[in-house]
């Protein structure tokens, strides 16, 4: 990682496209950085198609076959499917992710619209309150949250996994930002045509903020797909378990690691979010850049 420290040649040179020493250095450093981030993933994907014996054999000496599948087999995936019932966990995770997306979208877009386009006493106080909740470290309050969920009699339910995250300050922030950009004249025109607040929201404004909605959908999906600690606490019925917990269970320390199986599980747990990200990268970058705005 130390290689990254040498890249501060100054932003002014970014406009030069001639093949200067700086550009050559950028290529070299760029290649190293790319490998630092790509190699672990390549190794994981390739190894998921190998038997554990072949994985071990290909590690010494390090060669191109360490990172490429050889004698490819789907055996690891088959074992995940039959022995580890990964299909059940994938389905559970998809159900939870879909529910979380729907509830988050409805609840947060309504709130964001009110915080952006309504005039009422306490509006700015409320928005500041929502922003402050950004600062509450979520992992740190999981245990009291568990106590709340337990008292509500919701442990071991799907809704216990996603409802606590549905009132997302981050989603409200992104959506409010988008509503703010809708011109006042558009709102006026709709009002003059007799639109009610709900019609104004649903028929006029929501269609205008589709990119922001897409950003929220994607970030929520990745969040839900990757969530681990909270489901670990709130679900102990094995048939309701989510995919990340199943993956963590394949790699219990102390046991002799079954490399092939572990890599196949990690691959399955990674690909959906990674593919969504690679296909729709723009929205992610927008979402993260927006976090920067609040700072």
């Amino acid at each position: 990682m130390d290689d990254l420290g040498d890249t501060d040649q100054g932003p002014a040179s970014r406009r030069g496209t001639r093949l200067s020493a700086g550009t050559i250095a950028a290529y070299a450093i760029g290649l190293i950085v790319f490998l630092v981030f790509a190699l672990p993933f390549l190794w994981m994907f390739a190894s998921s198609f190998k038997s554990t014996l072949n994985i071990f054999a290909d590690m010494t000496p390090f060669s191109i076959w360490t990172l490429l599948p050889r004698d490819a087999t789907l055996d690891n995936f088959a074992r995940l499917w039959t022995d580890k019932a990964i299909g059940r966990y994938l389905l559970n995770t998809l159900i939870i992710a879909a529910a979380q997306i729907v509830v988050t979208l409805v609840v947060c877009s309504l709130a964001a619209f009110a915080l952006s386009k309504f005039q009422f006493r306490g509006r700015s106080v409320l928005f500041v309150l929502v922003l402050v909740s950004f600062m509450i470290p979520f992992q740190a309050i999981l245990i009291p949250l568990f106590d709340v969920v337990r008292r509500l009699g919701m442990t071991n339910t799907y809704q216990a996994v996603f409802l606590p995250f549905a009132a997302s300050a981050f989603a409200v922030f992104i959506l409010r930002q988008a509503f703010q950009e809708i011109p006042v004249d558009t709102i006026d025109a709709a009002r003059i045509d007799g639109a009610s607040d709900l019609q104004l929201f649903r028929l006029v404004c929501l269609p205008m903020i589709k990119p922001a909605l897409a950003t929220v959908v994607l970030l929520t999906f990745v969040d839900a797909w990757n969530s681990f600690l909270w489901p670990l606490i709130v679900l102990n019925d094995p048939s309701k378990q989510v995919v990340q917990i199943a993956i963590a269970n394949t790699a219990r320390p102390g046991l002799t690691p079954d490399f092939g199986l572990i890599f196949a599980g990690a691959t399955i747990a990674t690909l959906p979010a990674l593919i969504v990200f690679l296909a729709l990268q723009r929205y992610f970058v927008q979402g993260v850049a927006l976090t920067g705005l609040k700072g």
Binding site: L4, D8, P11, T23, F34, F120, L152, F228, P253, G295
Partner: protein, 305 residues
């Protein structure tokens, strides 16, 4: 109920009319309900439970013990160790991660073919679950069959024991964590860099500043706000680290990777001690809120002159 005054006192076009309460309630109730039940209430419960002797194995016999749990916390070697471990982990991660993220952002800002590939690769760990990253790096760290030692052997270098070694375990997790989070920070820095007008650097270049000087005296100070944000976000993230300890080390060897949240998890879920776990949660929340407040004050003082 009729509200006739514009609350902000400022005349506004279009939306200037005060919205009827019926609409406000309709739009805000679902959010507020979830917000109060799942975010405000747990905070209150945490504070309440923190003064209780409250064990899930006998939930009906909770008794108020005042500040006993807090006194127990500040003299609990396990808790003090976990604070120390988590702090070292966080400081190391910020010290390495922040310059690395800035370097990455400046690299992918340059015009060269493949910079989008580099950006995408660096950001990929951010959309990968911490579980997968922990599992993957556990395999990478395997002394015999792991990728890291395999590459080191290829270059004729001696390998390491990584997570199995008492003095290498925490540094290993720092490296993994920087690898995971640096892409997110890079995107924040890219946003910051785009906000800097090119004329400033050009003016400095005309005045004879070299690339290093332009970076240090023009670009870097203008990025202070972004750096503040990156430091705060990284600090808060890394104090909440749980998964690497759970998946890779179980807090070991000998407690050197026993992060605070992993300790809280054990106290609550394995020990069923909800009272004491809540006390530790309250301390952690107060500590993090205080820390981000201080970081904001301290770092802000350096750019407001």
């Amino acid at each position: 109920v009729r509200i006739s005054k514009n609350v902000t006192g400022r005349p506004r076009r279009g939306v200037g009319r005060v919205t009827p309460w019926r609409s406000v309630v309709l739009f805000l109730t679902p959010f507020l309900l979830l917000f109060v039940v799942f975010q405000v209430w747990p905070l209150a419960v945490a504070v309440r439970n923190s003064t209780l002797d409250y064990n899930l194995l006998r939930p009906n016999s909770a008794t108020d013990v005042g500040f006993d749990n807090y006194i127990r916390a500040i003299s609990d070697p396990a808790f003090l160790n976990s604070i120390w471990v988590t702090t070292v982990f966080t400081v190391a991660q910020v010290l390495i991660g922040v310059p690395a993220a800035l370097g990455l952002a400046m690299l992918v800002q340059r015009q060269f073919r493949g910079r989008y590939g580099v950006r995408t690769a660096a950001f990929s760990p951010t959309v990968t679950s911490t579980v997968v990253i922990s599992v993957l790096w556990l395999m990478m760290f395997n002394p015999t069959y792991g990728l890291l030692n395999s590459i080191l052997r290829f270059f004729g270098l001696p390998g390491f024991e990584y997570t199995l070694n008492e003095s290498q375990a925490l540094p290993s997790l720092v490296i993994m964590s920087v690898w995971q989070q640096v892409g997110f920070a890079m995107i924040l820095y890219l946003g910051g860099l785009q906000g800097i007008p090119a004329v400033l650097e050009e003016a400095a270049a005309v005045d004879g500043a070299n690339a290093r000087q332009r970076f240090w005296f023009v670009t870097r100070p203008l990025l202070n706000r972004t750096t503040l944000l990156v430091v705060v976000v990284m600090t808060i993230f890394s104090y909440q680290t749980f998964t690497p300890a759970f998946v890779m080390t179980k807090g070991g060897p000998n407690g050197v990777t026993d992060f605070v949240v992993y300790l809280i998890y054990r106290v609550a879920i394995i020990g069923s001690d909800m009272g004491y776990a809540s006390t530790l949660s309250v301390i952690l929340v107060a500590f993090l809120l205080g820390l981000s407040f201080i970081q904001f004050r301290f770092l802000r003082a350096r750019w407001e002159y």
